[in-house]
Amino acid sequence: MANSQQKSERSSKGRRAGSRPRRSQEEPSRNIKGSGEKRRAASQKGPRTQTTREEEGRTKESSREVERRAGGRDGKSVRESRRRDERARGKRHPSSSVTSAHNDQNRDKTTPKRTQGKRIGGGESRQKDARRSSSSTRSKVTVAERRGKGTNKPARQRNKPARQSDRNLNKVDQRNRASKLSSYRRVGVITTGVVLVAASVVGLLFFARPTTSEVEKRTLTPMPAFSWNSFWSGSYFSDLALWYSDTYPLREQLVSADQAISALHGIKSETQMIGGTKQADELPPAESSSDAKDGASDSEDNASSSTKREREKVEVPAQEVMAEAIQNQVLDGLYVKGDSAYSIYYFSQEAVQEYADAMNEAAKKLKGVAEVYSVIAPNSSGILLSEKEVKDLGGTNQVDAIKYFYSLYSDDVHPVDSVPKLQEHDDEYIFYRTDHHWTSLGAYYAYQAFCEEKGVEAEDRDDMKHVNMGDFLGSYYAQLKSAEMQANPDYVEAWIPNGTNKMRLWDQDGTVSDDYNVITDTSKWDITGKTMGFMMGDQPLQKVENPKVTDGSTCLVIKDSFGDFFAPWLVDHYQTLYVGDFRYFESNIVDFVKENKVTDVVFCNNVTLAGGGVVGPAILGRL
């Protein structure tokens, strides 16, 4: 309503300025235009010239020279009047309909603002304030109105009824409304300011800034060190901004609030697929893969020479690169069913070949020195989901894929086939639902398969001390923040080796300590960090010396995080057990084996990582 009042005020002003004659001058040009589009554009000129007139009326400067001197705003009206003159002389409008419409629009938008600009500082009553308040909506509405159905009608006619009702408007009511709104708006500005300042003050609480995030399991961005170089290029500032937001004191609370809000973006269906737009390579059929194996052993010289050629180039990828690649591999292609998630495996011919090359190369170099075992750990999806389910999701059958891995190995590599054992026990708790790892029990069945391959008796887990560390939420939960998972978390159980539970650990800073255990009771730890209790997680090197074995047997396990659950089972079989994570292990594997008189080397990797193109080069680079 205030809109129409304003409009009528404007048009009446226009009339007062005495611009009627000009309007009639414009009529002919409107008639000239033919097509609908043009007619519309022409009719839009009505209000436009009105507003210009209004300005002219107010400034009372009719001479072009004076207007030009008056500066910025009036410059436009100079051009405008020039154009109008041209039109009056019968010339066609210089711009096309595109551009003239553009003009209209800009002017529509600016007019209310200009009027405001003029009024500012005039010390006017609140009433006018309120009218101005809706100017933004008004300008849009008038544009839409004009663009709408009744475009052929002159704008003036349409204003008429509105103007009459405006006259009846109770001015007292109008003033009251405006003052009331104005006080509400003041409250709005003040509260906004208070929130902004409060949030800034929180940002100043440097002592409360965290350096690590428990939830995200990462070190937060540190404050950048100043250097002229980074200052000049601007990277110092972008790092500073990153540090500021990453270590903001209330960040974790805000993050969880955001996750609650983001959950409102849509409906969480019972079954979901996160990512996984990958194309798995076709898995070669079993016959041909046995050919490949034969081929590999027949033309061993050829194969090894080709790997040697590549070896020249192979360098261990940077740790961060590996970490990121692995995170992406594990968490892209997540199939979610209620409170369980499954990582889908996509076969890649090249990556699998690379891993097999690494195994073959290791066995070749260690021939006569140590036995080489390879444990490929499947994902839960490979054991617990049906073949059809995996196929429909575009994934590769892991049972076949692991067979294919092993088919590429030379005879010097001992493949440890854990799959049949796991399948046999698929109704037991062998995989976590909220995490991508197998459980200690799952690893136990793989260990049984290892013992079969090695020809020794597996320990009975019932003879060991069993620990239950309580509820656990893993990587899938961290990624999905699923409420179902939170309501029904996993639990962590472990068996402590009979021989010893003591462990020496070399961490990434190079510090050595004997204060660690093979199995640490983490029941009091954060719910998301409990699997740290197995071998203290992924480390450059751990060493376990078992006093109950004295035959000098020594084993080196090169593994990813799946190996953390597997390695504890080996403690009772060796006098010395070395465990190194392929990402952080710094020595050359062959040298290490020779120096430490290692008898067995076990490579334990998850199928996604082993077939993901990162582990193969990392191992090859350390041979």
């Binding site: 001197r69 711009s95 509260t191 973006h265």
Partner: protein, 473 residues
């Protein structure tokens, strides 16, 4: 520094507004200038030299034009301005692109220098050119004080992401401005609306688009047909919400302290034709090309071939302005085709509904061209959209993204329309003589900015959530 960041909102903006509010009137411009220079320097102080240099050149040429006694001198100064500014823009923005083409054709030069694009150069170059052109045309007086012109060109509200504000729009307000209380409110609200649009909607749409149609990833080729369409829908929503959010924030920041920048967007997805779309999309850019290229070339007031030539030049340049890559040029020329089609073939004979749908479809495919600089990826997506891709028709993965974002899509679509301002207007109309409605409206007015700000801060913090699944410490 981008507006949608903690450091801008909680350090820069808060400090700036407090200081600005406390200093006396005569110190307000110096504070604004200092803030703007700090803001600009945040992206790398070395480019501040460029900004100040370009401003100095424009300041000089404008004064020459103003005081020249002959038309020749005036023209020479204008040419000088264009050569200097467009030359610098060419070097910093297009040199790599052009050298790449030269290398492709002739094999020289052997190495293409890697030139970093100075932040906002496309925007402030055009602002300064429009200023000098306006002085040349006598539409505005040259600014005799260098730092006032620097304030115009470096003003942090619009310096790095538009809109392209004309000098004549703000000439008076640089000297005299005093916002009323109500204007401050409107500015604050506009800023918060823009911020929320960016952080709550645009960022979420961007995340979904990147999931479905990622740039530079093998996954792009394996997407399902529906995945491409949905991904591009997210991108279409993202690009409008993102861009118009920046304009909203700029307009709001200006309004808080008494500047009135022109609107840059007018609900472009409500357009009834392609031509109408360009009246509503990035208005400050299309009006720049109209006023400084199209009309000086003769506009439509010439023969048909000449008109087509003018349009082709304008749309080639519009495309090129968006980035130094062929796909942007193609994108500009793509619109040229449809604009000419509308002018010479359709001529407004299409029913309104069809026109609207048609415009949306044209714009939608325009964004496909706009998104992929790599023509291989572009071809993959277009093939995939029409069933010639590797990924089949649908997948659980696409369905998951869709159901998980269904309300986001609805809300974003509504945010692209004028429904919000329409409802607000209706509500205001109801407040006449109705105290309850008035109070409800008042409360709504009061809580809108603060709620949007709080939600935006939450969303910004959430965007930094980056879980690392392997233990790092």
């Amino acid at each position: 520094m981008v507006f949608s960041s903690f450091v801008f909102l909680l350090v820069f903006l808060t400090l700036h507004l407090i200081i600005y509010a406390l200093v006396p009137q005569r110190a307000k411009n110096p504070v604004l200038l200092a803030s703007s220079l700090i803001f600009y320097a945040w992206g790398g102080p070395r480019f501040l030299v460029l900004l100040m240099g370009e401003t100095a050149a424009s300041w000089f040429f404008a004064l020459v034009i103003e005081h020249a006694d002959s038309q020749g001198k005036r023209r020479a100064a204008l040419v000088g301005e264009c050569v200097v500014l467009l030359g610098l823009l060419g070097v910093f923005k297009y040199a790599g692109f052009v050298l790449g083409m030269v290398q492709g054709a002739f094999g020289v030069p052997a190495e293409i220098p890697n030139i970093v694009l100075p932040i906002g150069i496309s925007f402030y170059t055009f602002q300064l050119i429009s200023y000098v052109c306006d002085v040349y045309r006598g539409e505005v007086h040259a600014q005799p004080t260098y730092w006032k012109l620097l304030l115009y060109s470096s003003l942090f509200h619009q310096c790095i992401a538009g809109p392209i504000v004309r000098y004549k729009t703000v000439a008076n307000e640089i000297e005299h401005r005093k916002p009323t209380r109500n204007e401050v409110y409107l500015g604050v609200r506009r800023f918060c609306v823009g911020l929320a649009k960016k952080t709550l909607l645009a960022n979420a749409c961007a995340a979904a688009a990147d999931k479905l149609v990622p740039i530079g990833s093998d996954a792009l080729a394996n997407q399902a047909l529906t995945g491409y369409w949905l991904g591009m829908l997210f991108y279409m929503l993202q690009i409008y919400l993102d861009f118009s959010a920046y304009s909203d924030m700029a307009i709001g920041l200006g309004r808080m302290i008494g500047f009135h920048y022109l609107e840059n967007f007018d609900h472009p997805y409500e357009a009834s034709s392609v031509q109408d779309f360009w009246r509503r999309w990035h208005i400050s850019l299309s009006s720049f090309f109209r006023d400084y290229v199209y009309i000086p070339l003769g506009g439509s007031r010439c023969s048909t071939p000449c008109y087509i030539r003018n349009m082709a030049i304008v749309w080639f340049l519009t495309g090129l302005w968006h980035g130094a890559s062929w796909n942007y040029i193609l994108w500009g020329l793509y619109f040229l085709v449809f604009l000419l089609l509308e002018r010479f073939v359709i001529r407004g004979h299409l029913p309104r509904v069809l026109g609207h749908v048609g415009a949306l479809i044209v714009v939608y495919f325009g964004w496909v061209l706009f998104r992929f600089e790599n023509f291989g990826e572009l071809a993959t997506v277009i093939k995939g959209m029409f069933g010639a891709g590797a990924g089949g028709v649908g997948s659980l993965s696409v369905l998951t993204v869709f159901t998980q974002n269904i309300f986001l899509i609805a809300l974003s679509v509504v945010a692209c329309t004028s429904l919000g301002s329409f409802l607000r207007k209706r509500l205001y109309a109801m407040t006449r003589g109705n105290d309850l409605a008035l109070n409800a409206f008042g409360v709504l007015e009061a809580v809108t900015p603060v709620v949007l700000l709080a939600l935006s801060l939450i969303a910004l913090a959430g965007a930094s959530y980056n879980p690392f699944i392997y233990f790092q410490f």
